[in-house]
């Protein structure tokens, strides 16, 4: 599945998106764990509370939320607009 990154996280991971291989549907927690495995050096930045997650452009707080293959998934740092 394709995952999007923004802002500081995009720079730290060195890519605006990446392809992660994992069976879907999967929970947000599972996708996050796969991402951490893919970028072990950035484990802390990808952890709950450090990287927010959006599914289909909506912020998700429940790590049990299921993700399907058609979903748009993004990870990014806490927001700082306004």
């Amino acid at each position: 599945m394709n995952i999007l990154f923004f802002a500081a996280l995009r720079e730290q991971l060195g890519c605006a998106h990446c392809d992660i291989d994992l069976p879907l549907p999967a929970s947000l927690a599972t996708v996050r764990a796969a991402l951490i495995q893919h970028f072990p050096q950035q484990a802390k930045r990808l952890a709950v509370g450090h990287a927010l997650a959006a599914i289909n452009q909506t912020l998700i707080n429940d790590e049990n939320t299921p993700i399907n293959s058609s979903d748009e998934v993004a990870f990014f740092p806490p927001v700082t607009g306004g």
Binding site: F6, Q57, T58, L59, V79
Partner: protein
């Protein structure tokens, strides 16, 4: 790159590089509006000191698509909570200099209480839920602005 909320013609929401004109926005909140006795608006500006460093400018990044969706949701929530009528919400993206305008939130209502509260609410939620990120140019190099606990705690007053 601007989006208007089709579901409510009283709500104008835009994410844009271009600057905005407060007089124009105020006029849009006021013109041909016989029912509202109050207009409250807020503008956010780039300031030169932030988180202990001298700032010479900043770049605002966002998540196109999600940003507009998040702002629409925040405005919709505010209009469920208070009897407000017109809302104009503009947030700029791209490169900005010191004193540049970043954000405009304007709300009209028949009475001031709802307009004040809704304007404050929209800004508090925008700071926590809308996917914008600031990268500052400082005397010590470029850096991403850190999210602050006080912004998160600001939501407590709306619980």
């Amino acid at each position: 790159m601007s989006t208007e909320n089709a579901s409510n013609s009283q709500h104008y929401i835009a994410v844009q590089q271009a600057d905005f004109d407060v007089a124009h926005e105020y006029a849009e909140l006021r013109n041909d509006n016989r029912s509202d006795g109050a207009v409250v608006f807020f503008t956010g500006l780039v300031r030169e000191m932030n988180q202990g460093a001298q700032v010479s400018g900043l770049t605002l990044e966002h998540y196109p698509g999600m940003t507009e969706k998040a702002l629409q949701q925040i405005v919709a929530d505010a209009s469920t909570r208070w009897p407000i009528n017109r809302v104009r919400l503009i947030h700029r993206v791209g490169a900005l200099a010191i004193s540049d305008q970043i954000v405009f939130v304007g709300v009209s209502s028949s009475h001031r209480e709802a307009a004040f509260d809704a304007c404050y609410y929209i800004m508090d939620y925008l700071k926590n839920r809308a996917p914008f990120w600031k990268k500052e140019v400082t005397s010590q190099g470029d850096r991403w602005v850190e999210a602050l606990d006080k912004d998160k705690q600001a939501l407590d007053k709306w619980q």
